[in-house]
Amino acid sequence: MHNCSCENPLVPGIVEVVKIIDETPDVKNFYVRSEKGGVPFNVMPGQLAMVSLIPVGEGMFSVSWQEENDHLEFAIKRTGLMTDELHRIEVGQKLGVRGPYGNGFPVEECKGKDMLFIAGGIGLAPLRSFIKYCFKHRDDFGKITILYGSRSAADLCFKDELFEKWPQQKDTQVYVTIDNPEEGWDGHVGFVPAYLEELNPNPEGTIAVICGPPIMIKFCLQSLEKMGYSDEQVITTLEMRMKCGIGKCGRCNIGSEYICLDGPVFNLAQLKKLPPEW
Amino acid sequence: MNYTQEIREIAARLLENGQVDMVIAWEKGDHEYQTIPFIARTVDEVGRIVCDEYSIHNLSNSLLRYRDGKEKIAIVVKGCDSRGIVRLLEDNQIKRGRLYIIGVACDGVKDPLRAMKQHSGFERIQTPEDGLAAKCLDCRQPNPVIYDEMVGEEQPIRGETDRFARIAEIEQMSADERYRFFEDMLSRCIRCYACRQACVACNCRTCIFDETRPQWVGRETSISDNFMYHLVRASHMAGRCVECGECERVCPVNIPLMLINRKLIKDVNEFFGPYEAGMEYVEGNKPPLSVYKENDPDDFL
């Protein structure tokens, strides 16, 4: 289940940061490679790993992409103590990484379906692993629609994939929106849930995958229900404060489920059975 | 003391005519020696209120939960508790206009926590002590210092002993002896933070011990982190502690916290005083360490 450098699931292996890309003023994409070369472990889309700037702290992040056996990518937003320090490091810095944790996206069950990806802000990072997986196995999936919104144009992540690489893929539509009008932006303006209702994508044979701030997820879930999506057709990936990553320290629970172990991916049917505390 | 009837009448009156939205008082728990905090919001609930010999809790601490709201609150306070209300008012934690303070003149109460522990079977005792709580034995403030309505006859001061006697003893110890004394005392702290939660003067929205940027004091129960926790907390209490004794009462490992607090009360009184925190409410008053004066003593620096 996990192949870190030592048998202890709470002890990280050492990786090296080989590339850092500035996605937005507060999001950086870190490429890491195991000290021995290659990836420290294999991940499926949607899985998580605990990244540690060892003298400072640990944080659980979704793996934004695994490039074959070359490296792992983590898109990390600067929000707190650890991420603040992390944004100051340079290429060559050694970090601790342990994982993979979590259940990942149900890629097998989604094969043959049309995919609707809805993301807000940094929420695109976990979905990106699934989106790129779909593109890698393009013929296994039907039509792909990506709806992404952010506070402003500068806050849009993965701009070159968003505007160039992805729209060029077969049978793929990318819709981008920002919250408020601004100079130099002639794309759509408006919040993601509203844009979603505007686009009104057909629920038939479609799986909707959502990630973003909790408030955005909640509104989108309501919109999708209005548009006729069944509970099993809607998947989301959630986030909570995590420390151990292995379902033991207790804090990331929603009801009796631990996000780090039973999640972070849940479909709406499962989520409705749990207390609304996330 | 037993003012159950009087308090029930006052509570019913206040709730009925809409003067308040809630009355913070006490009710009985499962055992006759267990009285616990209780909030009555309707006239029906008033029948559960008691104000008896086990009503030791400093209810002013519960006001913090409602500091951001708009409810009108009636609260029953004894002498020591009322100083807690002055603390909150001086710290701008709650508006005076929202409070209807029912003061009770107290002739001492017993500690239901001590009674619960003695009857629990977890202690080896021959006969349960049934006297007044430790903090009541040398009470200097039996009568509320602030109130809108007063219940009971004014009580005489009970405490004639020198409350700083033990402090003086410790001050006489050599530095080594003192270190060992405090090491013994604080090494058993399990860092449960109950003292902080029970304290009415601990009312920061984000407590220094919960800050992460930076983390001021580590969370280990090592002697150095334990010392830091207690010394920093005590320093933040200097000139603000109202001596209600709740911190010491709730400590699950019986650390005599009032020793540390009293030392600082003595020092503030000597250096910046005479000064006793929370003895009277005058709008605009601040504790001595919250105000800088050019002639503040500094020879202890």
Partner: protein, 338 residues
């Protein structure tokens, strides 16, 4: 039956302490808990096998309040990790009551099952032998029987001591128990003695169906009412024999440091505080509700048995008088289908 005479207890402890760290219930100064026999101070401490139970449960023997995990050192961008491989001395917990043994069983469920085995916990647990002390006199706030615990028979115990006149019957249950017994065989005597009867419980609850009922009671007004006196001080979580939530933190100075884990409490606001500012359980009522649901519903759903063992400690020490018995009673009496 093998019997350990009262007069020989200290000899047994001395003998066992030669090969293990023996934790026994003691009164030390103002607190009661399980302390190591090696630290026993004749003039200061008091052995307490006869007491109903002690305040601090022995969970700290296998899940210490603070536990170093690994140390590290930095040099420029390089970093080295060293996992703490302390030589684990065998441990014996002697005189532990059934309620606390059940607590350890629950800790075993959490740390040793469901996907990952916590290596730090396992290292301690494997080397720990449990010598339980059968309980025949339930106390004022004891309700272990109602929570499915047998006060006179603990499942996970390696040896069970049963109090009789003048001593204890030494009831060996497992191989681990046999190994420990071999060390003190000569101090036991063969004797036929009569066991004490179990006295009736003063407090009972009916837990049957409560976990199921709680599924529909998430928004019930009872949580608001019950959480009012709660100060979220966390004493309950520290003394509870089954509370296991922990935090992982780091201590660093200059280029070195170590990562450790320490007890944490779900009652604190910071427990679920996220870096971006969002907190799913901001209010005291939400944390209060989560704690009791965890004890009475979530844990039962996940591991099959409730996390509360009926030891009564939280009821005794809560400054606000919160009682889990009252909560279970309220759920039991609530109208279903609300």
């Amino acid at each position: 039956m093998k019997v350990l005479k009262m007069s020989k207890i200290e000899q047994v402890l001395d003998r066992l302490a030669q090969q293990a760290d023996v934790y026994v219930p003691m009164l030390r100064g103002q607190q009661t808990g399980f302390f190591s026999w090696n630290t026993y101070d004749e003039g200061y401490d008091d052995l307490m096998f006869d007491i109903l139970n002690v305040y601090q449960s022995p969970k700290h023997v296998i899940l210490p309040q603070t536990e170093k995990m690994y140390s590290f050192s930095q040099e420029g961008q390089e970093i080295k990790i060293d996992v703490e491989a302390e030589e684990m001395t065998p441990k014996i917990i002697m005189g532990i009551r059934s309620c606390d043994v059940r607590g350890i069983e629950h800790l075993d469920d959490v740390f040793l099952t469901k996907g990952y085995v916590d290596q730090f916990y396992k290292a301690r647990r494997d080397k720990t032998t449990i010598i339980a002390n059968a309980c025949y006199n339930p106390g004022t706030n004891c309700f272990c029987e109602s929570m499915g615990v047998n006060p006179t028979d603990s499942e996970a115990a390696d040896i069970i001591m049963r109090e009789v006149n003048g001593g204890y019957v030494w009831d060996v249950k497992t191989e681990k128990g046999e190994a420990v017994t071999k060390q003190i065989e000569d101090l036991l005597e063969e004797q036929e003695v009569e066991l004490f009867p179990l006295k009736p419980f003063l407090r009972k609850v009916n837990y049957e169906g409560v976990a199921e009922k709680l599924k529909d009671m998430f928004e019930d007004p009872m949580w608001e009412k019950f959480s009012e006196p709660c100060q979220t001080c966390g004493i309950c979580t520290y003394l509870c024999p089954t509370c296991y939530c922990f935090d992982i933190q780091v201590k660093a100075w200059g280029d070195e440091g170590y990562r450790f884990r320490c007890w944490d409490s779900c009652m604190y606001r910071e427990y679920t505080q996220m870096a971006g500012g969002h907190n799913p359980r901001e209010a005291a009522k939400e944390r209060f509700r989560n704690r009791f649901l965890h004890k009475l519903q979530f844990f039962t759903e996940r591991y099959g048995r409730p996390l509360c063992t009926g030891c009564g400690r939280c009821i005794v020490v809560c400054p606000g008088g919160v009682s889990i018995i009252k909560i279970i009673d309220t759920v039991k009496e609530a109208e279903t289908g609300a």
